[in-house]
Symmetry: C2
Subunit: 391 residues, 2 copies
């Protein structure tokens, strides 16, 4: 297989109530990414799109075909991927393989979601379909409850008083909002304090509103190319050197392993082994903080901290720029926003821009970063990781 | 890239109102396919599933993760593909690439749909989302109208009196019902005559009920493996030697080309060129007869008949066993049924079983067949073709 590079990135404003359709959002970010990559529509040989709720949101399925056509990529192959919150990462990983194999040379991977137009109650209902619909949903066990359960299991397993875990969880959200202040594409530009978290509405104890990421409209896009072509087109290609994907099925089947997520540990091992790198080689990480407890669990599963200690790392600033491993310097799902099918692609955009340097706004650059890892968790069922390298 | 083989097939009963869930249907066909392939769940490294309306039908998204878990494929990667009616073919083509590249050795590609529980009116509404929702749906231009338009354009372009075209179209449906009589998995086991077609309800002139395929519940599955492994596991691997995929976008953007479907001509050329074969090398074909006119158009786009002449071929029996090119000997979408996300996988199953020999019921075997081609058309937007070879 060939080495594959990211040569262009496009990222929309993440926001509530975007006036654009999914096809328009995709077109906007694709044009940005193609310009950055110094390619035009006629150079694109295939398109991979992550999208979850398009049919519910807009009554539009198969958005990838209309998107391909609207940006002038006539009659290329275009496929849609659904793996709940990991759909965007699924699209990028798949696009990677079609270039790595030698079948295509230049392709687009993108993700999009319009999750807010239907309103939060209906969005919550429809999104619950990406957990187990027969047993979990029927028991009221939707995603906030899932992560509330994980928080309780986590506190119990590692002997952390729940009140202290809540301090740790709040620290995750506070840090994300702080960095999002410096990310012009973030949904929230508003500082919050731990007190703000504790005063926010209770969603599913111990998870409060400010422990949870929002629903978001937005899109992101990357152009991928084979190494030889990448070097001709751009000065600083960023390489995808490791990929991993693992599914798990409903939570009850993960019983023995919770609150650790076995799929993440297997997926990230695949990515690390493929890249020949270890967690300590990573200079930054974008991980799936759909809830603050999810961020803590993810940082441990990725190998950055011992199990039961990641919350303390957030409290101590080890996850900030200058700390042991800068995490979610984009603002993360919590503050940058979480347009479901776009999130994984947004993570790849962020790591790529950080590794290229000079592409993120002041106060967010992780200086000298050479390797970064993305992490997305989809529903009950899938974790996808990708490792990117500057050279 | 390595050569990739189909080493196992699984196919459910196609029917109205299946009592099984999507996960149960998928599990049933996967077990059948794994048994045929002489592999067990622990041998499967990745899973690819085509499914279109799962979230609408059952309130269950991300069906692939639960399916993987339920058949004992713990923590493998599992992805879902949506390309309207071509979703199943999209899953198989993608699975092909992950084996061809050398990344995985043995994988499952499957498709499933439960399209009938919601009732035909709601199924028609939801399925219309896979055309263009902003302009086409709002104009009442759902799929029956699309193909009615194509029938009128076809009659006009090739100077065929509409009454005669209707005879040709009816011949397509009659042949499909006849062969479906001999396919135990087919949804319909009922002979029809051309008169039955002409007496059936008018859907969208000139398309009548018996010119249209039904909604269907069902699933199909194939196990794919690299050539070297395939030869160790089964006596008669069937190889995927050509693949093609092309998207087109909304019908208005295909204006100049209609009633020919440019995406099909490009996609099938990719497949033929890759396989080093021509239309005249094909011994049988499973093509996308969602409406009888669609079958006529497809047979021409695939290169079997001159433009404007395929309907006459059906009338003359050239599409039957013993004719120029046996088409839809399974019964096709019209009579075997059309479980949307499963249809492409069902086509691959059928061609594989025909090429292996001795696996289809009496009166349906295309004797000595060495090469076959599948064809699926998804919504406004995508055509996927695959060429399979017996050796």
């Amino acid at each position: 297989m060939r080495r594959v590079a990211v040569i262009g990135t496009g990222h929309s404003q993440f926001m509530f109530d975007s006036p654009r359709t999914s096809v328009e959002l995709l077109s906007e970010v694709a044009v940005e990414a193609m310009n950055e990559a110094n390619v035009s529509a006629r150079d694109i040989q295939s398109i991979y799109v992550g999208n979850v709720l398009g049919d519910f949101e807009e009554g539009q399925g198969m958005v990838q075909s209309f998107f391909a056509n609207d940006i002038g990529c006539f009659n290329v192959s275009a496929s849609r991927f659904e793996g709940a919150c990991a759909s965007g990462s699924m699209a990028v990983r798949d696009a990677y393989m079609w270039v790595a194999s030698g079948y295509y040379d230049i392709v687009i991977a993108a993700g999009v979601e319009k999750a807010t137009a239907m309103g939060v109650p209906l969005a919550t209902r429809t999104f619950a379909m990406f957990g187990d619909s027969r047993y979990e949903y029927a028991s009221g066990f939707t995603f906030p409850a899932v992560f509330a359960l994980l928080a309780h299991l986590y506190a119990d397993r590692y002997g952390i008083p729940l009140e202290h875990l809540k301090e740790q969880m709040a620290a995750v959200s506070v840090q994300s909002h702080e960095y999002a202040m410096k990310n012009p594409n973030a949904q929230f530009h508003k500082m919050i304090t731990r007190e703000d978290v504790f005063k926010s509405a209770m969603v599913s104890s111990p998870i409060q509103l400010n422990d949870a990421c929002p629903f978001t409209d937005g899109a992101a896009c990357v152009v991928l190319a084979s190494e030889d072509i990448a070097k001709k087109l751009v000065k600083q290609p960023v390489y995808i050197d490791g990929i991993g994907q693992s599914s798990s099925g409903r939570l009850s089947s993960q019983y023995d392993y919770l609150p650790r997520i076995r799929a993440r540990e297997l997926s990230s091992k695949q990515a690390y082994d493929m890249a020949g790198l270890r967690p300590e080689d990573m200079d930054l990480c974008e991980l799936h903080d759909c809830f603050s407890i999810a961020a803590i669990i993810a940082a441990e599963g990725l190998g950055f901290f011992d199990f039961g200690t990641a919350g303390e790392a957030w409290l101590n600033g080890e996850t900030r720029i200058g700390g042991k491993i800068p995490i979610n310097i984009s603002g993360g799902l919590k503050a940058k926003g979480h347009p479901i099918g776009a999130t994984g692609v947004s993570q790849v955009c962020e790591i790529t821009r950080q590794l290229r340097g000079g592409m993120v706004s002041q106060g967010r650059q992780v200086e000298g970063a050479r390797h970064g890892i993305t992490d997305t968790l989809g529903g009950d069922g899938v974790v996808i990781n990708m490792i990117l390298s500057a050279q």
